[in-house]
Structure formats: C-alpha cells, structure tokens
Symmetry: C2
Subunit: 317 residues, 2 copies
C-alpha cells in the first residue's frame, strides 16, 4: 500500500537533501497551450531528475544494517545516477548494472558518484538475472526503479511540493514509464485535492499503460522505439498499475517530433533543458492532446539529462 503519510514521511527524509525545485511559468507557453501551466522543474533536481527523490527515500527507509551492506540497481538511465548519488550521501557502497553499450556519459556520471559499474551484454543476458546474481554474491539490497512503495513515496513528494506551492490546480500531467512517478504523484495530488484530474503521458509507441488501462490488466508491448529513453519500459509495474487504475483519469500520447518541438520551445523561450521523457507532459499541452482550455494545469518536468551531441542533432533536424 502507498499512503499519503508515506509521502509525508518521504518529504521529511528529503528535507534539506533533495532540492525543492522551482515552479516555472511562461506566458508564451500559456498562450500557445490555451491554459495556465505550472511546471515543476525536476530537471533541476539533484542528478538531473526526480529519480533522486525515490532512490534517496528508499535508502533512508532501509534499516541501517541492510543499507550498510551496500546498494544495487540496474539501470542505464536516471535511476542509476540517482541511486549512486543517494548511496554516496549515505556513504555506503553501490553497484549499478548497465548494458555494455550504455552511453559513456552515463557511465562516467554514475562512476562520478562513486558507484561501481557492472556491465552485461543486453542482447544475450537477462538484466534481472545479472542483478539478482550480483545481489546474492555481494549481499547488496536492490533499489527497484519503480515497483517499490518507498520509491513511489519519494517520487510523490514532487507533486506534494507542487500543490503546496500552487494549491488550486485543476489537472496534473505526469509522464509514465513503469509508473512510479505517477503513482506517487497521483496519491499525493488526489489526497490534497480530490477534484484534481491526473493524466499520464506516454510516447505514442510506448503506450503500454494506455493499453493496459483499456484492457484492465497489464499488457507487455516489448521495448518501444522512441527518443524518450526514460520511458522505454514494456509494461506497467505490478504494484504501480493498480494505483494508476484507481487514480488516473486517462493517458495522453505524444510523438517524438512533438517532444522535440516542445524541448526546443522550452530551451529557447524558457531557458531550461528538458530531456525527451521529461517533456512529454508539456508536449501534450503544447500540441493540444486534450481540452484544458482556461484550466490551471500542473506538469512534472521529470528530467533534463540529455547528451549535448544528441541535442544538437535534434535541434538541427
């Protein structure tokens, strides 16, 4: 179970450790979107994404002995750096299992926080198996990327802070991968403001949560092709999905091109760098995927970790 009290407890643990990220507004974005938008800038969070909230809360909620043995995660993305940073702050060893073709910058980033990187061949070995093996050998505790109530509670603090700053939101848009962020945020938002409507946003090709909601059970779509590398999961989580079913209004879909156009606008006009996964919520508004006319809409800008060479390609395309 995930409760509002879990999120409040996470907020206490994160106080003074996670950034209280600012809420950004842009008159020009509002004019384009036709509604009043409040951006929770988690791209300005430590390690560049909301993931730090869940990772740190998970470590903080462990008992001392478990944490001291060490921490393990498998991820080549924002979760990896978030766990590595959290482990560094607790001064405990961390190992991150990554595919051997992971971008050099992400490997360097993870190592920069002092974590050991363990490579595996993603075309021949199963990631979870590698992880379990390492976990057993080293006795390290696994921090799951989303399917864990401690992680979800941490992520939910993003919406908690947003609603503390801007209480009267009509709607909240949250990107959906495994569902940890939206499960936490919807739990916080619906508790504080029962009338709020929470929407998930997925890439067009990565619509596993949309399909799962329509079918009433978790659907596996295989790894989707999209530039939103943070949203390339094949199915919603076991623990997150029932929460999404209960609290989320609907799922909106955006294309890669729509993400890029939105990233460009946000960089050019709002001066913030958002990664494709982080831009899907804004893209849904920017491209009018739902009628929010005149409403006050919150959006979680989930992260900003972009390879600058790739950014150059996208912007010049």
């Amino acid at each position: 179970m995930l409760t509002f009290d879990d999120i409040l407890a996470a907020q206490t643990r994160l106080h003074g450790i996670a950034h209280r990220t600012p809420v950004l507004t842009s008159q020009q974005f509002n004019e384009r979107a036709g509604c009043e938008v409040f951006f929770k800038a988690e791209n300005l969070q430590r390690a560049g994404a909301f993931k730090f909230r869940g990772a740190y809360n998970c470590l903080a909620a462990m008992d001392e002995a478990e944490r001291q043995r060490g921490i393990l995660a498998f991820s080549s993305g924002n979760h990896a750096q978030a766990v590595a940073l959290a482990a560094k702050l607790f001064n405990v060893p961390a190992a991150i299992v990554m595919p051997n073709d992971a971008p050099a910058i992400k490997v360097a980033g993870t190592r920069g926080y002092g974590a050991e990187v363990i490579f595996y061949d993603r075309y021949h070995v199963n990631r979870e198996e590698v992880g379990r093996q390492v976990s057993e050998e080293k006795g390290y505790a696994i921090v799951p990327p989303f399917d864990d109530y401690r992680v979800m509670a941490g992520q939910g603090t993003a919406a908690l802070e947003l609603l503390e700053d801007i209480p009267e939101l009509d709607a909240l848009l949250v990107c959906v991968s495994g569902g940890g962020l939206i499960a936490g945020c919807a739990t916080a938002a619906k508790h504080l403001r029962p009338a709020i409507r929470v929407f998930g946003v997925e890439p067009e090709t990565g619509n596993d949560t949309l399909l799962s909601l329509r079918k009433g059970e978790r659907v596996d779509i295989g790894v989707p092709q999209t530039i939103a590398d943070g949203l390339q999961v094949n199915a919603p989580g076991k623990l997150t999905f029932p929460i999404v079913q209960r609290l989320v209004e609907d799922i909106l879909l955006v294309s890669d091109e729509e993400m890029i156009a939105t990233m460009r606008f946000m960089l050019e006009r709002m001066k913030v760098l958002v990664e494709p996964s982080g831009a899907v919520g804004a893209a849904a508004l920017f491209h009018h995927k739902f009628d929010f006319a005149g409403e006050r809409v919150g959006v979680i800008l989930s992260g900003g970790n972009v390879d600058l060479a790739k950014l150059g390609e996208w912007l010049s395309a």
Copy 2:
C-alpha cells in the same frame, strides 16, 4: 543618487509582475569552483533577462501622462524585449530602434510583445541621433539601457532578492556592461551586508570598466569583439561609474572560450541555458579568476537569450 529605498520601491512595483527567480545550486559546480555558489537565475526572468526589472520599474516610476504618450528604447538585445514587454503590460505604445542587421529572432521577439521596430543603418547613422529624432517626432519617453536611476533601482532588486534568500554571502559577482546591473546590485548588497565584496566581471576584450577604474575616469575602448553581445559597450555610464567606483571591489576578466565552457557545463549539468554575457560571473569562478576558496559566493546569471543555431555552433566547436 541611487538609494536602497529606491530599490525597495522598485521591489514593491515589481511584486507579482517580475518573476521572483529561483536561486540555483550545484554540488558539481561547487566542487569545480572550490567555493559554495548561489546562482540567481535571471535567465529565467520574464523576457529572458534581468533587463525586465529595470525597464518595468522605469515605466512604473514615470507619471501617467508621460508613459501614455509612449516609450522608446534603442537596443537590439535584451533591453529591447524588456522595454517592449513592460510597455505591453502598461498598455502603452512602444518603439524600439534597432540596427537593420539585427538578428531576425530578436526583431520577431520585440514585435511579438507588440512594439514597433524602427530600423537604422548602424554603419552610417548614429543610434542616439535616430533615437532622439524618433523621440521628438513621436513624443515618446526614452528608457535608457543603464544610465538611469530608475533602471538601476529595478536591476538592484535581483541582488535584493538573492540576499533575502541567502543572507550570508561573502561575495557577489555581477557582469558589467554599462553598469546598470552592478550599480543596482552593489547598492542593495552593500546596504544589506556591508562586509560583502562585490566584483564585476567583463569579457577580456571588453574591459572598459576595469580600465576606467584603474585610470579613475571613464575610458572609451570602442566596441569590443566578444561573443558576449550583451556586454559590448565601449564605456561605463556617467551615472553608473561613480557607484561602481565607490562600491565595487575589483573587475575580473574572462575569455570567450571560458564563457562557452561554462555555458556548456551549466547546460549539461545544471540544465539551464545561459547566454555568454550571462555566464561571465560563473565563468570567473569556474576558471578560478580570484581566490574565493571556501566562501559563499552569489552570482547573477543575467540572461539566457541565445540563438539556438549559434548555441549549436558553440557547443560543437
């Protein structure tokens, strides 16, 4: 005269109209700089730069009849858009005198705020003359870019807010062009915290204020060559210079390459877009232009208006 009360009055006028921009921090930047840095993110200000503070305060301080006749500015940069936006908010006509080779995006931005753009040939005509002529014809009031106490007072609110948020700063770094921002910020900072040391930062090639301070009088160096297009003035202002002489510790210099390296770091790690002129203060820390070891240092990130095509060039160079 510029007094602290002028800055307080400006703060009251700007309340709820200018963004109260966030103060950003980065552990990684601190490690690199060897001190604790607090960035006042004026690149996230309305119209993308601190300039809006001074422009709006100037209009707000005019008497109603003067303002209603209309507003004039000459600028191809951030001041142009700031004045255009301020005039729009007061619903008064505005004309901006720009060189006929001004970047299309800046012309479009200024027109986007509803201002009339008046072109002149910068190689054959004097800008001030064109401005005066238009001012006389139309009866419009000129909003100077820096040499005006109402403008300086508005700019000073950036430091006022920063010190309200982070009172115990040891030093403050502010970019210097005509000196409006640093005159306002130094006045605010020295009043609130007399022990603070205020440093100006200029491009290596655009060191007119450094030379002027050394000589004890305003020196004209001609228009400097630098990518920091916001800092290409040839001499400090008449009204700003005595304030700089009285309150500023010293001037630090940074090269174009150092600005680019800093912009890259801030975009990649801190996820914010800063223009070259806006990055000089951070660049002085990033490249250790002075020993601030262990100190708490405030930096005004003055603006973020960058042409994305140019950004691509700089990042790929």
